[in-house]
């Protein structure tokens, strides 16, 4: 993450660069909101018409251990191809992937780890999204290539592995969390993953980015070297008043907003941490199945809403989620099930 963790893409910069605001991978304006989520962004496997079976035709590349397509000579990064001879991916990242307003090199959507392969790697073409709480109502979302392995997050931060290449970020339907748009691992589909919200830091005086606390940032450092090296800087501003956040607002780093998001984010984060943070609950496979704790929680919530038929507090009620039988505790308030915990019984 860059020193200015609050670095959102400024409106002024976007005004001067309408192609980035509108359709960065083509430089053409568009009114199609889906583009901002990146669902229409081409990925290399689609472009090249490849399927998984064709992986057999590849041989191991000596660079980062990735397979090389024998026909094209390009390295396969699972979500897209890297043209080793050109030092470029054969298809662009999604809008603003890897972009930092202060680093023009990052605006090149075809570049590989900002033309610095000695220090930065893109292990598999997939992404790790780091959220940093920067205030009661704001957080900054960055994305780096590769898994979250080795990505260290500090106070007020969270890291979420996305099983694909990030194409955009928007506020979740609850207005308290973020939805990450991504193109799938195999490049054949796209989807969204809810990543909750960055936690409220325990020590706001020291947390990176909190209230633009440069001293705190210097104390704790960036989220990790990996993230520092290749970041997307997409600011999510849960601002003061207003309606729902839409994708355009988020990608523009703009100020659409919902009130009270700071506490809401903390509430969600606290619940996710409690339910999925204790290995004794045995929910690891469920998290893996759904691609993250937020998505797993949503699935549990949905199943509980359908299957729990009590009124008031309930304990040890069986629900089936993702093929697993788990037990949930919670309460029903005005017909809405609210889960306090979930676990796989011994």
């Amino acid at each position: 993450m860059y020193p200015a963790l609050s670095a959102r893409i400024p409106d002024g910069l976007l005004a001067a660069m309408p192609q980035l605001r509108e359709k960065p991978h083509q430089g053409l304006p568009s009114s199609n909101p889906a583009l901002y989520l990146g669902f229409n962004v081409c990925k290399s496997t689609t472009v090249l018409g490849l399927r998984a079976a064709e992986h057999l035709e590849r041989v191991r590349s000596r660079y980062t251990g990735k397979e090389r397509d024998t026909e094209s000579g390009n390295d396969y990064f699972e979500a897209r191809y890297y043209g080793s001879s050109m030092g470029r991916f054969m298809s662009p990242d999604g809008p603003f992937d890897g972009s930092d307003p202060d680093d023009p090199q990052s605006w090149n959507l075809y570049s590989y780890v900002q033309n610095n392969p000695l220090t930065n790697t893109d292990p598999d073409g997939h992404d790790c999204v780091v959220q940093t709480r920067t205030g009661n109502n704001t957080e900054t979302v960055t994305s780096s290539a590769g898994t979250c392995a080795g990505v260290k997050v500090g106070d007020g931060q969270s890291a979420t592995y996305v099983n694909g290449t990030v194409t955009g970020v928007k506020a979740g339907v609850d207005g308290h969390s973020i939805d990450i748009g991504f193109n799938s691992y195999d490049g054949q589909s796209s989807g969204t993953q809810n990543a909750g919200a960055a936690p409220i830091p325990d020590s706001t005086n020291l947390a990176p980015g909190w209230g633009n606390n440069q001293q705190g940032y210097n104390t704790l450092g960036a989220a990790s070297k990996v993230v520092t090296a290749a970041t997307v800087a997409v600011g999510v501003t849960f601002g003061s008043v207003g309606g729902a956040i839409v994708a355009t607002d988020v990608l523009a780093g703009g100020g659409a907003s919902l009130a009270g998001v700071g506490r809401s984010g903390a509430s969600v984060a606290n619940r996710l941490w409690h339910i999925f943070g204790n290995p004794e609950h045995g929910l690891g496979p469920l998290v893996q199945k759904f691609g993250g704790p937020a998505a797993a929680y949503e699935a549990i919530q949905k199943a509980a809403q359908e299957q729990v038929s009590v009124v008031g507090a309930f304990k040890a009620v069986w629900v089936q989620v993702g093929g697993m039988n788990i037990q949930v505790n919670g309460t029903v308030i005005n017909g809405v099930v609210k889960i306090s915990t979930a676990y796989v019984p011994h």
Partner: protein, 224 residues
């Protein structure tokens, strides 16, 4: 006692004089702060109000007539709130189900209550034997539901059996570290009328049978 539902500050301000029971729906701090002026309140249900924080909950101390407080899934409150609530002079029943950040510190404060009879701690997984030992000293405590998956061991149960002589209901759910020794020690609690032991693998049928013999008037519910 009729229950008034409120959803915001305006609702609170419209409450009839003398209102004694309120259920808050998705309330936030400002509405809870406004409730602090309803001094006639005896029962307050804030379950599911997951945005309320210590900032407003500590002010509930002004509700000196309050007897029942439900803070289920008020996930942002901490020991700071519990320390304040422990000083409510008439509080009888406190539901902290899903208040994840409650620790032994809060329970130590609750142990100083002079009126608390019923305490629900589901999902408060930060509580340890130390917290249980604090509660054991609470002479008024009659009903206790401990959190599953908390690091509570036989030591906690031994503390209860030695001190919580007025305990009538005890629920132990998914406490993997408790064993027959702890369960058998509960035979000292002659006031027990209901004991629930679920999801604790180390507990044997033999120990439960012995306990049933020792406490013939106690309904012992057991399942692994």
């Amino acid at each position: 006692m009729s229950v008034q539902q409120v959803t915001n500050v305006e609702d609170v301000r419209r409450l009839p004089k003398g209102t004694s029971s309120v259920k808050g729906i998705d309330l936030e701090d400002p509405a809870v702060l406004a409730l602090c002026d309803v001094r006639s309140l005896r029962e307050l249900d804030l379950s599911g109000c997951d945005l309320v924080t210590d900032r407003s909950v500590v002010k509930l101390l002004d509700l000196t007539a309050l007897e029942v407080l439900d803070l289920t899934l008020c996930v942002l409150i901490t020991d700071e709130s519990v320390e304040a609530l422990a000083r409510l002079p008439k509080i009888r029943k406190l539901l902290l189900h899903g208040c994840y950040d409650i620790t032994d510190v809060g329970l130590a404060a609750l142990a100083r209550s002079s009126s608390l009879e019923e305490l629900i701690l589901w999902s408060c997984e930060k509580i340890t034997d130390q917290g249980v030992a604090s509660l054991a000293k609470l002479a008024t405590l009659r009903h206790l539901e401990l959190p599953g998956f908390a690091p509570i061991t036989d030591a906690g149960l031994l503390a209860l059996s030695s001190n919580a002589s007025n305990l009538e209901v005890l629920e132990l759910d998914h406490l993997s570290a408790i064993s027959d020794e702890g369960i058998l020690s509960l035979a000292k609690l002659k006031s027990l009328v209901r004991l629930v032991v679920q999801g604790s693998r180390q507990i044997s049928e033999a120990a439960i049978s012995s306990l049933r013999v020792a406490l013939p008037s106690c309904d012992v519910v057991f399942s692994k």
